[in-house]
Amino acid sequence: MIKLKTALTTVALAGSIAAVSTPAMARDTINIVGSSTVYPFATVVAERFGRNTDFPTPKLESTGSGGGLKLFCEGVGTQHPDITNASRRMKISEFENCQANGVKEITEVRIGADGIVMANSSEGEKIDLSLKHVFLALAKDVPNPDGGNELVANPYQNWSEIDSSLPDMEISVMGPPPTSGTRDAFVELAMEGGCKQFEMIAAMEDANEDKFKSVCHSIREDGPFVEAGENDNLIVQRLVQDPETLGIFGYSFLMENRGQIQAATIDGVEPTPESISGDEYPVARSLWFYIKKAHVGVVPGIQEYVAEFTSEGTWGDNGYLVDVGLIPLPREQRMATAKRVKDLEPMTGQEL
């Protein structure tokens, strides 16, 4: 019986010690939260950083851009994250929230861009699309082509039915499955972008946001859009076999397969690293991260991690992030950003 009693007391004691011991302890691992789009880039940098330095490998949570900025702006102190990644710029309201919670000095880093292209075989016809065309070709429900203010199931089977400027070929598009980040970005940037150009749908955005989202984000399931697996190489093989099919994928993939496939221009802009990082190409977004200056020097390694991220071997034209699919910034911008980051120049709120 004594044994049982001592066992019970030990377990209880251990439990209470674990529960009570002071939580506001120093932390030696960098905590990073934020966008799932930046996550694949940031994890690669973090792993290399941990391997090649004496600092522990940073911890990364994929919370989404909004969720990350919310956590980041909750305050200063080791229980809050040090860096947050975002696939969009911080909003002014988020900046104010940060300021209100005492997160005064924030350094903004733009790391590059992520673009999505629609491409077909180089042997096929080069296509000039607009966002509106993309929406009409791929949405589940579209505004009635005969006029009127109602949505009908997508009747278009041929590109030339949508617009006479488009070639006379059947709509056949291969794209990523819903689990893919590329699909999310495509739906948000291309589909929604085209969708908003219809007045009746744009009016819906304020009145009924859920309805607006379901109209703009639903891709048709009646055949012309084919879900391909995550294996982009198979998509390319099929595109080459059938020059009338278009594929949707990340820009890095177009680069690797240049010569076999060509990209469609969207709203008249050819996808190039310049047009994507310069925000001219519509289906592209910039990627960012934000550093909490108050944590530099408290949590070891933040500056070194940021230096690794902003070094030429990482985010440069031949850096290892390009292999993962990042579109680097132009060199002057990289240089300017790297310098600002080195000095941890804080945001003023004016730039947003």
């Binding site: 019986m1 049982l4 009693k5 019970l8 377990v11 209880a12 251990a14 439990g15 674990a18 529960a19 939580p23 506001a24 302890m25 932390r27 691992t29 905590n31 996550y39 694949p40 994890t43 690669v44 973090a46 792993e47 941990g50 391997r51 090649n52 522990p56 490998t57 911890k59 990364l60 949570e61 994929s62 102190g77 080791t78 229980q79 994250p81 689990t179 893919s180 995550e230 294996n231 190489n233 198979l234 093989q237």
Partner: protein, 425 residues
């Protein structure tokens, strides 16, 4: 008379129908069991079919010429030189001894992509530790690149080869024939934390994280659950308040686990200011989740101790506390342990509440304490399953096999304890 006969007649006539009914009923039962077993079989076949290659690693053994000129390195003790040196050059040179025809930028790049990205750091570490090895040739074993590994493991399936160029496929085939590329048991899986490269990714970090989390859960929920059960069963008066508590405990057992995650986020992280992603918070949340299970099963175990034992103890003058601690609790212990182990097994497989407290994260270092960032087994499986690299598919299935092994052994322990310790009256 006629009446009776007709009744017997009715019975006889209905007899056949009743037998049929019973046979049908049995058939339904067998069918249900069959469907359950079949789905279990399909699940296992799928997991093992996909996952068995996860327990195999692909290595490349090379004679690496640690040439100081090729690496731009004269003095391995000089930190600046080390950081500027090119440690992939000797690996490429070693591969070029097998393929002298591979010259030029693109061939070199393709050669470099035959080995995993950890390889240059291994060369660096070797030289940092043993500076005297500079300008010698060392035999080193590297992990193959993910694409090579997948290609070698699935040599019979052409859909796995598309990520390698044809030239690389030729090299790999030749190296396999020469025995330079070899497969062996994947010890990396059990000795490292997560990685973005399937070959370097291990499950040890998650196993340790799960262990630490479960320790906290056990340390809190077991004593608390048993104390609550003993009090409610033996000491508490039967009134509205205890009825109310009982209803609430039963209710709590049915609350979706994510609610406990929200509670943990608000209370432990928000109010107490504990760090995110640490086993202590995870353990506390899971302890709250398992508590009702343990209380309910412990109460049932205490109830099943026959009153005659209590009465006998009281009869020879034992106090209430002596009765409980000396007689009732030891006899109820097997039931309590079984309940606790099943509750713990449930907690081990839980991911939803951990999502909210930040334990769903990319963590490379193996956790070394209750306050270091950690993740747990099911979360690791989820993270791998949602990665696009082919190598992670098999790792996810291998992870599921490890998790299942833990679950089965915990449940087996529960059964063994029950068989071993249980007493019948």
């Amino acid at each position: 008379m006629t009446d009776q006969r007709s009744q017997a007649e009715i019975v006889r006539q209905s007899l056949k129908r009743r037998y049929r009914k019973e046979r049908r009923f049995r058939l339904y039962g067998i069918l249900a069991i069959f469907i359950a077993l079949a789905s279990l079989f399909i699940l296992f076949a799928d997991i093992i079919g996909k996952g068995h290659t996860g327990f195999v690693k692909t290595t490349i053994t090379l004679d690496v010429p640690l040439n100081s000129d090729a690496m731009y390195l004269d003095d391995p003790t000089d930190k600046d030189q080390i950081s500027m040196a090119d440690f992939s050059a000797p690996i490429i040179a070693a591969l070029q001894t097998h393929f002298p025809e591979a010259e030029g930028g693109s061939a070199r790049r393709e050669l470099a992509r035959m080995v995993g990205s950890y390889a240059p750091s291994e060369v660096r570490r070797l030289l940092e530790k043993n500076p005297e090895l500079l300008n010698t040739t060392q035999t080193m074993e590297f992990l193959a690149h993910d694409t090579v590994s997948v290609y070698v493991k699935h040599a019979d399936n052409p859909s796995y080869s598309i990520r390698l160029s044809e030239r690389q496929q030729g090299w790999v085939d030749e190296l396999v024939e020469k025995g330079v590329i070899d497969t062996s048991f994947n010890d990396v899986l059990f000795s490292r934390g997560d990685s973005r490269e399937p070959g370097n990714a291990g499950i040890l970090g998650a196993i340790v994280g799960s262990l630490l989390t479960m320790l906290v859960t056990l340390a809190i929920s077991f004593p608390m659950g048993i104390a609550a059960a003993i009090y409610l069963e033996e000491f508490a008066p039967q009134n509205r308040i205890t009825d109310f508590i009982e209803v609430n405990i039963n209710n709590l057992a049915a609350v979706p686990s994510i609610i406990f995650g929200l509670l943990g986020l608000a209370v432990f992280i928000g109010l107490f200011g504990m760090p995110r992603s640490v086993p202590v918070v995870g353990g506390l949340v899971l302890a709250l989740m398992t508590l009702p299970t343990i209380i309910i099963s412990s109460r049932a175990a205490i109830k099943s101790v026959p009153p005659s034992i209590r009465e006998a103890a009281e009869g020879i003058g034992a106090s209430k506390m002596q009765v409980v601690l000396h007689h009732v609790v030891p006899l109820a212990m097997p039931g309590m342990l079984t309940g606790s182990i099943i509750g713990m097994a449930q907690a081990l497989g839980e991911t939803a509440p951990l999502l909210l407290i930040g334990m769903v994260a990319f963590i490379v270092d193996v956790p070394d304490g209750f306050f270091s960032s950690a993740t747990v087994l099911p979360v690791q499986i989820y993270l791998w399953a949602s990665s696009s690299e082919q190598g992670f598919v098999e790792l996810a299935s291998a992870g599921i096999m490890v998790l299942l092994a833990f679950m089965i052994s915990m449940n087996a322990l529960a059964i063994w304890l029950r068989k071993r310790l249980e007493r019948r009256w």
